[in-house]
Amino acid sequence: MKRRLGFCLAAVVIFLAMGRLCQAASSQELIAEAKLFDGAHVLYGGEVIGEVLRRGDHAWINVYDGDNAIGVWVPAVLAEKIEHAGSYKCSGDRIRLHGIFHRACPEHGGGLDIHAQDLLVVEPGQQIIEDLDDRKILVLAVLLGVLICLLMVRIFLKKRARK
């Protein structure tokens, strides 16, 4: 436990030190000021969404910061840290990463991306428990009643027409 805490503290210190060298940026800033950030070391954070897309010794993760999701190219070793990716049933790990931003990455077909050099899971994701609103059940029951009545009227009218 102590070793784990020590490791986390060291990681936080390293990240704070990097923060002095790198510029923290949101997805909106990165997209709007892409030319300015092109090739720069950036700090970016958000929720990992979708799936971790593994490609040999690297992987793609898509990190959503509340406005946009940006593709991050990470070494497979770093990708191993991610345990939850955001979906309907799960909130993704919230991560903070440091890497080089590319406006039109020459290695990846001119895409806007970040090549991560380090990554820290700030808050692990968790399962989302579905919450069924009772009012929906009530509406469903009422609608079902209406439909049954309509079908009965239809059957009655058909029988009468046959007579």
Binding site: I49, G71, Y88, P106, G110, L140, L150, R154
Partner: protein, 503 residues
Amino acid sequence: MILKPQTLDIRIILHFLGKIILGFGMMMVLPVAVSVMFGETVPVVDFAIGLIASISTGVLCILVARLDKHPEMNWMHGMVVVSLGWLVCMVLGAIPLYLSGHWKTFLDACFESMSALATTGLSLVQDLDHLSHGANFWRHLMMFLGGQGIVVVALSFLVKGGAGAFRMYVGEGRDEKILPNVAETAKFIWLVSLVYFVVGTLLLALCGHLSAGLSLREAVFHGACIFMAAFDTGGFSPQSQSIIYYQDGLFEFGTIIVMVWGAINFNLHYAIWNGKRKELWKDIEVRTFVITLGLVTLLAAAALAKGHVYGTIIGLVRRGLYQIISAHTTTGFSTIYSPQFILEWKSLALLAIIVAMGMGASICSTTGGIKMLRIGLIAKAFREDVKRFLMSDSSVVSTKFHHLKDMFLDDKLVRSAALMTIAYVLVYLFGTAAACFAGYPLLESLFESTSAAGNVGLSCGITQVGMPVFLKVVYIIQMWAGRLEFVSVLVLGGFIVSCIRGK
């Protein structure tokens, strides 16, 4: 003097409207099945509400109509049924979306629903990356239904073929029958679409699993959704980043194949199915598409290369050409972020993509926009006129073209093509003026308006949850009118006027 519609007219309209709603509503069983497969409980209840609301509405319409004999439908009935049917299906389709809680208002859910049905692809969804598989599947399924035609759904299962059925079929923006009987045509469209769906889903799932790195289950789900959106030139995607999410060239290539395949006239699909592959290269629509695609690509590539927007040829193809093909087939998939169009693309490249969106692809396909046949005919008419000036007064100039068969160009055809082109341009300008009125710059307004009315779905950033309500309504009208090619919408307008002012 305007004649007021009689009770029988309204009953005939209600009868067929009810059948269309029933056909559409029954389709909600499919997202219920998807939700069950993925173990999602709440979406099952949402779709059950939507399903029962739709079936109740359909049954109510048929009950109110109470027609004893098989009704005979005229052109007015057919057009009103179609245009009204699309509006009612928009509202019913929006119910499960709104209940999911991912759309801020019911109007936003209606916007999404119309965008899906009209195969546009503009979206007002919030937090798409956490949307249930069921609701996500429904967004894409609505594109598939709208692309093939809601009326085609009803014609295939619930309405007997005949003159009345053909009138509804035409009202849905298709004026070419593939087979002599319109119900057989509808069934053929479904047969082709389902075969392509299975093959396309498998291929995209393989790309997604083996190349992009998706898990097998997600690869199949994404393959199915992306196929429906690509083949029906709709442009929705299961994740908020559109095609960027997959970060994979092979997957992008797969979507290009499906988009182009979906942009081809269904009559040509029929010819290909019957072994007449040469038709594909002889047809005026395909030829015009190849020429216009070449021209807009050249323009955009020149502008992007001059501005050093993408440093490599591969970048130019994956970020530049991809957007152009997506725009020209009126799909709306994107491999760049929306604001990048305005921030990074040069004016000439933007102009090229707006022109591509405005032109669209084939008649009798799922694409929007002016369409290649009309552009081709107008170009041929211009050439004929120039030829006429160059030759002696006594010479007779005639122009032939090949569209399913050899035909002579006549003034009636050119007039109809020109009228429809003018109508589209006016609707593009109407949306542009509305967005300018809301305070957006001209170029962005033109881009978004062309995208909405041409049923494309690319966005430069105007379409957002926070945009003015009246602009949302304008875009809904543009998507609806653009998909139905105006006539049935105008007839509905006339019908309402005659109900109010008729004697």
